[in-house]
């Protein structure tokens, strides 16, 4: 049996066998929906087929009920065994009866079976019935909570539109040529080197800042935003000046410096200046002094001459861009939609957290926006549970080393696996009305345009009053498929991988979302050395060549160096970007 021929990506239903197709055309979906009454589901358990809850099914022919492989004919509800293929009573039933009795259902696993093809078959309506039975068993009354509760300020689903290439018309072209001057390439050597590649001077223990800045300067959507003049620092400062004039009398404790120079603190303006400088063609290392000054004004608690955490800086910086931009906007933005500022548009995603009562199966769901995902570093114990059985085929048993390597995929598997909360963290179940032990599972409701994975290498233990760094190697792929970690996939696997529209995805629900789950690595921030005395370096991927950015020093390195490096923050960008219809009306 060739899997490739029948292979459909991502939950698409395969073609039914002729017998199932026949059955469907003759009976429609009625029999499957009727089975719903016989579907018995224990909380957190599997669906089974029983006429009465206490029924013990037996084969009508031989009376056996174990070893179980009992199938109930969907047409006549008679139960037969299929333990021995040579003498399958289920197959005999299908053959001996007039047509219409070929399809049966596995009573213990609620899977459809074609007794003639002797193979498991799949049907959308049957799966829907199973999923509904699951949820009915674990929800208050008859309220179905399959669809997620409306997110606060429900995200309007904007239509996906085709990309329309733009070229300037003659008038625009004239304006462009009149008001700008083309950048000149430097000398011969630099001409084949990518634009935007430039070193950053270390201003004194600022490699933590330089490393993150390098990654951001080459984050495609962010770079495009600033290079498209979407935040013009001159206009921004001008607008703020006008604003300041009006507020001058009111603002009594504006800092001396701002009053003096009439400069409004805006990290986005400083970013704009940096982008201009970086892509100007000048290859001399740039000193991000103004940026440091602005950032220290924004993040007062982090303003000191000492080594700091690059990740902390990253979060602080995004927050700085967000804060200053949002002040200008009148309407409040829904969290996680990314409509508030470019920082969130690029980096913010939405995490979904499900807490399930182990007693009754009731699930409570919450959504939280996030700008990155922090992952714990632990060794893979023989790979994830899903991969364990398959890994053994490839002789992993002998290769203990490969089984012990930490991988980013392993960390993501761990991040999204169901976790049993301790007995000291009992959750109040609305259905049971008491505190119960529960399972918690994370998943990604909305994938950001750019995923930043932060590897938790710095452990601060308050109990031991010490901090330590985890040097363990982490393997990270150059191409990453995030589909298994989406909420739709996680939910689907929780319900036995049934065919069902589980999540109201942000993207078009019917199209295969595989393209929007595929990510490509473009930057790696690494840390070497000790916790208190170490060094950050960034590796950038430009046109599939890797460059090492070590403060002022830029050099080209082989792919192997990057693969072997100690990743601390790993940046991935969506492989394919889609355009959504704009809300704003554009004047022609």
């Amino acid at each position: 049996m060739s899997l490739k021929n029948n292979h459909r990506r991502n939950g698409q239903i395969p073609q039914p066998c002729p017998h199932l197709a026949d059955f469907r055309s003759r009976n429609g979906q009625k029999p499957f929906r009727a089975l719903q009454e016989c579907l018995r589901v224990k909380p957190l358990g599997r669906a089974a087929i029983r006429r009465d809850p206490d029924e013990v099914p037996r084969c009508s022919t031989c009376g056996h009920y174990a070893p179980s492989r009992l199938y109930a004919c969907v047409a006549c509800a008679a139960v037969y065994c299929h333990s021995l293929p040579e003498s399958s009573h289920a197959a005999f039933h299908a053959e001996s009866m007039p047509t219409g009795h070929e399809i049966a259902v596995d009573v213990d696993r609620a899977e459809l079976f074609c007794c003639v093809c002797r193979d498991q078959v799949y049907d959308r309506d049957f799966d829907a019935a199973v999923v509904l039975a699951h949820t009915a068993a674990s929800t208050l009354g008859s309220r179905l909570t399959l669809l997620p509760p409306m997110l606060p300020e429900s995200q309007k689903k904007r239509r996906r539109v085709d990309y329309r290439p733009w070229t300037p018309d003659p008038k625009e072209r004239f304006l462009m040529e009149r008001d700008s001057s083309p950048l000149k390439r430097g000398d011969e050597d630099s001409s084949c080197l990518p634009w935007g590649l430039r070193g950053l001077n270390n201003l004194g223990n600022t490699c933590f800042m330089n490393s993150v800045l390098q990654a951001l300067l080459h984050t495609p959507p962010l770079r495009n935003y600033f290079l498209s003049d979407r935040h013009n620092r001159f206009l921004c400062q001008q607008n703020s000046k006008m604003g300041n004039v009006n507020k001058k009398n009111a603002a009594s404790h504006d800092s001396n410096n701002n009053k003096k120079k009439n400069l409004r603190l805006c990290l986005a303006c400083d970013m704009d200046a940096m982008f201009s400088a970086f892509f100007s063609g000048d290859r001399k290392p740039y000193s991000p002094a103004k940026f440091l000054y602005s950032w220290w004004q924004h993040a007062e608690n982090l303003a000191s001459y000492e080594q700091q955490d690059a990740h902390e800086f990253f979060i602080s910086m995004l927050d700085g861009i967000h804060e200053k931009v949002e002040k200008n906007q009148c309407k409040p933005q829904s969290q996680g939609s990314g409509d508030c500022c470019i920082a969130h548009k690029v980096f913010s995603g939405i995490l979904r957290s499900d807490v399930t009562c182990t007693s009754c199966g009731f699930t409570s769901t919450t959504y939280d926006p996030c700008v990155d995902i922090s992952l714990d570093l632990e060794p893979n114990r023989g790979g994830s549970a899903k991969m364990a059985s398959l890994k053994s085929h490839h002789g992993c048993n002998g290769e203990t080393e490969s089984c012990g390597i930490s991988t980013l995929i392993g960390c993501l598997d761990r991040f999204t696996r169901p976790e049993r909360l301790g007995s000291d963290q009992k959750f109040f179940c609305q259905q049971c009305q008491v505190r119960q032990e529960s399972l918690k599972q994370m998943s990604i409701r909305k994938l950001p345009l750019v995923s930043c994975f932060h590897i938790k290498r710095f452990e601060h233990s308050t109990t031991k009053k010490m901090s330590r760094k985890v040097d363990r190697y982490l393997q990270f792929p150059f191409s990453l498929d995030m589909a298994p970690y989406r909420s739709s996939s996680i939910l689907r696997s929780r319900f036995g991988n049934r065919i069902f529209a589980f999540e109201d995805d942000d993207d078009e629900p019917d199209s295969s979302n595989e393209s929007s789950s595929e990510f490509e690595l473009f930057a790696v921030v690494t840390h070497t050395g000790r916790l208190d005395a170490g060094h950050y370096v960034t590796y950038l991927r430009l046109s599939n060549l890797w460059y090492k950015c070590d403060d002022s020093w830029i050099s080209q390195v082989s792919e192997s160096i990057v693969r072997a490096a100690q990743g601390y923050m790993v940046f991935y960008v969506q492989k394919i970007l889609y355009y959504k219809a704009s809300e704003k009306l554009v004047s022609s």
Partner: protein
């Protein structure tokens, strides 16, 4: 299972192995059924790609660990990709946007820290130099302004050579590669 001498025991062990076989079969069919569904619906992960990435990473680590390979990873820099060299401490000079003085890039952060009055040392310095003067006018205000930082804890740290330690950090940061 070899038949023991006792008939009773033989029947028991036959029964137990019968049940065990049934349970085992059941588990096998469970797994087969689940995997069948995953495979048919195209939900299985691209294992070939994942394993290829693992293989490449193992290969890379071997190559990098090999001392005979050009020390790309930790080599001392001679020229960068543009043919430039850079000193250990960045020597570009520009004006501080806070006080207007001309500062060398590599020493900008420590300067700015004092200039803006941020950080521990700046606050300590201010305390030391101006506390006496401030005390003359209003003791309480100086305490309220600097109390979080002028306690004995931070004073001791300064005495123990915080600047020295910081200097080391700075050195580590820029000279790490050598």
């Amino acid at each position: 299972m070899s038949a023991p001498n006792d008939d009773n025991a033989s029947a028991h062990s036959q029964l137990s192995s019968h049940f065990f076989a049934g349970l085992l079969d059941s588990i096998i069919v469970d797994v087969a059924s689940e995997c069948h569904r995953i495979a048919r619906l195209g939900l299985d992960r691209n294992l070939e790609e994942e394993e290829e990435e693992l293989r490449l990473s193992t290969q890379a680590r071997v190559m990098v660990a090999d001392p005979s390979n050009s020390g790309e990873a930790n080599s001392k820099y001679v020229v960068d990709i543009f043919g430039q060299t850079h000193p250990a401490i960045a020597n570009e000079i520009f004006d501080c946007m806070n006080c207007g003085r001309a500062i060398m890039a590599g020493r900008f952060a420590p300067h700015l820290e004092k200039c803006m009055g941020k950080g521990r040392k700046a606050r300590l310095k201010t305390t030391r130099s101006s506390t006496a003067a401030q005390n003359r006018y209003s003791r309480s205000s100086s305490v309220s302004a600097y109390s979080p930082y002028s306690n004995s804890h931070s004073v001791n740290q300064a005495v123990n050579g915080t600047p020295g330690v910081t200097g080391e950090d700075y050195t580590e940061c820029t000279f790490e590669e050598t």
